[in-house]
């Protein structure tokens, strides 16, 4: 998939990156520029003040005539374009000056004079010479009680420096922006290249090909973390898809056989001329097979409804002891027929809130399994004890046993261990039992019997939460 470059994170980050660089360097430039301008002005001001004190000293020693000479000499020494001196009376009338051809446009500011006369403090002014557009710094100051010096210095070297600095800076700025854009783009692309790998892998994953994994960089950064998470998510999905596929294979298989048999009966009925009795047998076989199918489908519905939280469970106060005892009595003949020693020790009066029909189904499935998978002359025993906050029901058998790797698998719908495929059953019993027990906030655990050499044996342990109903009821 190609996406527009403007939408990419790399583009946006580069933009930010460049923007921040540009702002930072501008701030640096502007502060430097003003600092430099201020320093230059300060220097010029100092020079102006120094000149003023020179004039004061001369006038003090030699009178106003000395000042007249000094103005000419000083201006010639520094350059007549660089500096000028103008000596005035407080009225504003000029009585002496340096060579003024370059400065003739610069007049005496009346406002400045008035302010000087009023405050007696020296007055600085920055002006632009009208004819040349050059900047100049002026100073008005008293050099004697009745003499005022107006002096000015051209600032053209300063402005030349500053404008050169501006040009250099603009060039540098362009370079900085270009450099930061390019380096930002490359850096971010490099940092995000892992994301592209993940996207490519994700694109290659289809329902039939879930084996692809992203190679981790192993440097434990955020992207590596993302890769690990992504891969483990893929593992889970692969597992789920596999189990769904297995389940649908099993469903297909389990549905196929009875339907094939039903079809077989019907075909026989058509192709053979039989008597009424044979038809009756065929019809009854068909009913048996259909019942099996219907029961399977019903059980599936109960499980999936309960798992989806839509089960029609009716919770009532029941005596679990009675229910288990009844179930054991019901199954006793089955054990007896197989010569299995069947015993049960059930604690009295275990009252719980439960759906009795559902628990009956769960327990009859567990009991049926225990008897079914225990060989002749084996042993099946049931015990139920009430503890502080839980009820533990153990169904122990000396049957064929279950390998620990199947502990979780056998609770899956339609899962049947190869060795048990030959015995009757839908592969739904345990799944239903666990679903029911879990709806009662309990769970089923399996333990394999150890230390018994002649038989492997299994314990199915049903744990249900126990709350003292007497206490609960009396508290209402």
């Amino acid at each position: 998939m190609r996406y527009k470059i403007f939408n990419t994170i790399a583009f946006r980050l580069t933009l930010w990156f460049t923007g921040i660089f540009a702002i930072c360097s501008s701030v640096a430039f502007v502060s430097f520029y003003f600092l430099a301008a201020q320093t230059f002005q300060h220097q010029i001001d100092q020079e102006l003040l120094d000149n003023t004190s020179k004039f004061s000293a001369i006038i003090h020693r030699n009178g106003l005539m000395g000042a007249r000479e000094l103005a000419v000499v000083e201006a010639q020494a520094a350059g007549e374009k660089m500096i000028f001196f103008r000596l005035l009376y407080p009225t504003g009338e000029v009585f002496a000056s340096s060579h003024m051809s370059y400065w003739k446009d610069v007049h005496v500011s009346k406002q400045a004079l008035e302010r000087l006369i009023k405050n007696k403090n020296s007055i600085f002014e920055t002006i632009r010479i009208p004819s040349t557009q050059q900047k100049a710094r002026l100073l008005y100051s008293y050099v004697a009680a009745d003499a005022i010096l107006q002096t000015g210095i051209a600032m053209d070297s300063t402005s030349r420096f500053l404008s050169a600095f501006k040009k250099v800076f603009l060039g540098a700025m362009g370079f900085i922006i270009f450099f930061s854009a390019v380096s930002g783009w490359l850096l971010i692309r490099k940092a995000l290249s892992g994301v592209q790998t993940i996207t490519t892998t994700a694109q290659n994953i289809t329902g039939s090909n879930l084996e692809a994994r992203v190679a981790g960089t192993g440097n434990k950064d955020e992207l590596d973390h993302l890769v690990i998470t992504f891969n483990s998510m893929l593992d889970r999905i692969e597992e789920l898809v596999k189990s769904i596929r297995e389940m649908s294979d099993n469903i297909a298989h389990d549905l196929k056989s009875p339907i094939a048999r039903i079809r077989g009966f019907a075909e026989l009925a058509l192709t053979h001329e039989e008597n009424m009795e044979d038809y009756r047998i065929m019809a009854s076989n068909t009913i048996e097979e259909s019942d099996r199918l219907l029961d399977m489908i019903n059980t599936m519905l109960v499980i999936s409804r309960a798992e989806a939280g839509e089960g029609d469970f009716e919770f009532k106060k029941i005596d679990l002891s009675i229910m288990i005892n009844e179930a054991c009595n019901l199954f006793a003949p089955l054990a007896e027929d197989k010569n299995i020693k069947f015993s049960h020790t059930i604690e009295d009066q275990i009252f719980i809130f439960a759906d009795i029909k559902m628990l009956q189904r769960a327990f009859s499935n567990l009991l049926d399994n225990a008897i079914k998978y225990t060989s002749k002359k084996g042993k099946v025993s049931v015990s139920a004890v009430k503890q502080k906050d839980q009820i533990i029901i153990k169904i122990f058998d000396t049957g064929i046993g279950i390998k620990p790797e199947y502990f979780e698998k056998i609770f899956e719908r339609f899962y049947r261990i190869e060795s048990s495929r030959t015995s009757p059953g839908t592969g739904l019993g345990l799944s239903l039992a666990r679903t029911i027990v879990r709806q009662h906030q309990g769970d089923i655990f399996i333990q394999t019997q150890e230390s018994r050499h002649q038989d492997k044996g299994t314990i199915f342990m049903v744990i249900l939460p126990y709350r003292n109903l007497e206490v609960i009821e009396s508290s209402f």
Binding site: E326, L334, D368
Partner: protein, 86 residues
């Protein structure tokens, strides 16, 4: 309440579960009752009809009330269930 089963003047000892099974069959005599019906009405149970619980119980009941007698009362209807005929 005392319950007693007699056939040909012989008293037959029945377990409570067997007694209620016989009672149900008698109440529905000449009618076919399915395994599921027996589970539901006799023992108030509903579950997987694939277990042999009903067969085993019927088998015991037959041993007691049919084995040593003629004619047989309990008949199997394949695929459908059982019927008690008198």
């Amino acid at each position: 309440m005392k319950r007693q089963v007699k056939r040909d003047a012989r008293i037959i000892e029945l377990q409570p579960l067997e007694f209620s099974l016989l009672e149900y069959l008698l109440r529905n005599r000449e009618r076919v009752v399915s395994k599921t019906m027996i589970m539901e009405h006799v023992w108030d149970y509903n579950f997987d009809p694939m277990t042999n619980v009903v067969e085993a119980r019927i088998c015991r009941l037959r041993d007691k009330i049919d084995k040593d007698f003629e004619p047989k009362l309990i008949h199997t209807v394949r695929g459908a269930g059982y019927i008690l005929k008198i």
